[in-house]
Symmetry: C2
Subunit: 438 residues, 2 copies
């Protein structure tokens, strides 16, 4: 029997995910060696403070504050520090030294991915980041490898568990946003400062990564139109529910053709109505899922836990074992397939269906006038429903009008809504929400 | 710019899937070259009769009956003939010549996979077969690569669209099995001879492949306990529905420990009750899905089209592009990870929950006697529900008893059912079905 090679693994960061990665590397050493063909030796864990309390009991001698030295001596580097610096400098240093790098740093990838990918290409080593999108769910590898002979046309992702938990709570209990957020914070699903989640920034970084792999073009955060869920009201949710929809925060990347036959990709994050029978509508609580439409494969969905130390560690270790196998076999790095140059489209070019709620005067002919206005702007109405309310005390009647349009451009819709606001029979526009899956 | 290398692709078989693979290879040649770094040139299509009508209009000069010569000259061989011979001989010949092979031949893999895997290992080439399980759904690659740093504990798969369509029809319309089968045949979801589907043989071959990759051990068809859906009655479905369950034909592979701490894998196919809120319960019509439980990742589900020419072609092309990339980069073949030796367990060792329907005498003390009998055999009851029917004419009362057990071994359950049959208060055992997901 030949002696087994040892590969040195440097771990940068020991938070929620890092601590579980370290635990599994130690506890499952034999199984990982069998899978890999090499012993994966955890050579050190770089942290800011070696005496901090950790989620997991780990050998004290592994901890160091000297990340640079640790990286210099490693065959494989796992970066789980988060943030831009020093993560960026350490990853670039590792790649230049010929180490394979596994990272879960979505913010860094979305901001500066191209620099990192180029460095990995130059050094002929692997840079893997399955953990950066949808936690434990294998989604990047299937897109990159399994669907490499197909053409993805659209990606719809529930990629932020915090907002999915909040919207699910609002949907099932009727709670207002602020109350559902407070509950999510109490249960640990939302952080004390929830901005990155509820404003959609976290989902936007993931959208940029999904779009880049799906459309073989490098999209950055600045290409992603981003709206969070802070303005979604209990009334929006109730109205959507009543009409057979559920509201989800979706990361969307889809290929669109313009009138001249030019192609582009619309990458965006916003609250979206989905029909209750859509596979994504059943994704409850803090779970994540990514729904993919491809020309040949048709509809695919990938579902699982999108966060949490142990689930995310599973994705990190999958990348690590794959990179280690390649090192053992002596093969070359991965071919990057982000070779295309499909332009990112501005949000005005996005084409989707819309849900519009209007508070209107209860007068004859109102529906006809509104319908005509939509038609004049080239926005076709799929469903129009009016509900009359009578105030018990004042006996005054008001009418609520709910419209679901066929697919239309953001620009056409915005112009329509502006024009509708100018009608004297309109009291207010109560909601404008995008719809997918109809 | 360097000149692009050409890789010769031999296609064996031109049925439903093969014709679509040929079409895409020709139509998407430029995109595939961009993804791969080489031109994939379809060098020929081996068929039994070059003049047969095809689903797709393809250049007549590509067709040949001489598969051997075609294979000898190919860099990549796609085998979509099905059946054992001549597919087996041609694949072995291709591997020995150093060609990478992509196949969707589940029957051959389940019967003789180990021979093929060894030959591919020896020749340092890739043997890929994503299309053999769950059509378009990327499932084998995620199991092999993405979950390589985790431990899969259980796999539950809806991997046969024909039976899922039939059971779904029975569930939604109340139809009997024979009528639902006839409808499936009329719509093309079931073949004229539906034996391989409805008896579970097709699902059993896929179960062997899923189990082998999930548990790093080579399981063959003979290790799979197989029951089809022919004995599932409309009454079974109605009773399950009434109790909050749906009946699905599942391919199951799960790791079990025996009392002595020994480990084994139970691989089986049988009709199974699932709670309606389980993610697999929502998989309707001819769709497929695979639900995976892993120690670290937790619960994952992969959903999509399990059959059909174009969707399955997507999986074939994903394998082809991945193999071609490897050839272009000059890297080694894939490491096989089926290095373990976990024993396959007989069906008696399987541990699951059970649903038991009993037609019993409506007498005092019957429930207590039955409950005691279950307890004596070590089978714990989770739910017990009695419904009294009164025949309007005869005025005779009969009682129907429905029991859902906690997890118990097949052996214990079988002994319990035998004992129950011997009770004088039992008119008949109306159904015994396995339950997952409770």
């Amino acid at each position: 029997m030949t002696e087994m090679r040892t590969l040195k693994v440097a771990l940068l960061g020991c938070g929620n995910v890092g601590a579980q990665v370290a635990r599994i590397l130690i506890e499952d050493a034999d199984a990982l060696a069998a899978r890999t063909g090499a012993r994966l030796q955890l050579s050190g864990i770089a942290v800011r403070n070696v005496n901090s309390r950790r989620d997991v009991d780990l050998p004290q001698e592994l901890f160091t504050t000297d990340a640079e030295t640790l990286v210099k001596d490693a065959d494989l580097v796992i970066e789980l520090m988060g943030g831009i610096e020093p993560a960026r400098t350490l990853i670039l240093s590792a790649l230049r030294n010929g180490a394979c790098v596994v990272t879960g740093n979505k913010a860094l990838l979305a901001q500066d991915g191209p620099t990192l990918y180029e460095e990995a290409d130059k050094a002929h080593v692997q840079l893997s980041y399955e953990a950066a999108v949808a936690g434990a769910i294998p989604i990047l590898r299937p897109i990159r490898d399994s669907l490499s002979g197909d053409r993805i046309t659209r990606v719809l992702g529930i990629v932020n568990g915090t907002t999915n938990y909040i919207l699910d709570q609002m949907d099932s209990t009727g709670a207002q946003f602020a109350d559902a957020l407070a509950e999510a914070q109490r249960l640990g699903y939302a952080e004390a400062d929830p901005t990155a989640d509820i404003e959609g920034h976290d989902a936007a970084a993931k959208a940029a990564i999904l779009a880049s792999l799906s459309f073989h073009t490098r999209f950055a955060l600045e290409n992603v139109h981003c709206e969070g869920i802070t303005s979604v009201s209990a009334a929006d949710i109730a109205a959507a529910k009543d009409a057979g929809f559920v509201i989800k925060l979706l990361a969307i990347a889809e290929k669109l053709s313009d009138a001249e036959g030019g192609e582009g990709v619309s990458v965006r994050v916003h609250p979206t109505l989905l029909p209750r029978e859509h596979p994504l509508a059943a994704v409850r609580g803090a779970f994540n899922a990514v729904f993919i439409e491809a020309e040949n494969a048709g509809e695919l969905m990938f579902y699982g836990q999108g966060a949490g130390g142990t689930p995310t560690a599973s994705a990190v270790l999958g990348d690590l074992v794959s990179a280690a196998r390649r090192l053992v076999l002596g093969g070359p790095g991965r071919t990057e397939t982000t070779t295309g140059h499909v332009p990112a489209l501005p949000i005005d070019a996005a084409v989707t269906s819309y849900y519009i709620g209007l508070d209107v005067a209860d007068e004859p002919g109102v529906l006809a006038r509104i319908a005509q206005l939509f038609a004049e702007h080239g926005v076709s109405i799929e469903i129009m429903r009016q509900t009359i309310h009578r105030d018990a005390e004042s006996n005054v009647e008001s009418a609520e009008l709910r419209i679901v349009t066929h697919r239309a451009s953001e620009a056409a819709l915005a112009a329509t809504v502006e024009a509708v606001k100018g009608l004297d029979v309109i009291n207010s526009v109560t909601s404008v929400l995008r719809v997918e899956g109809v």
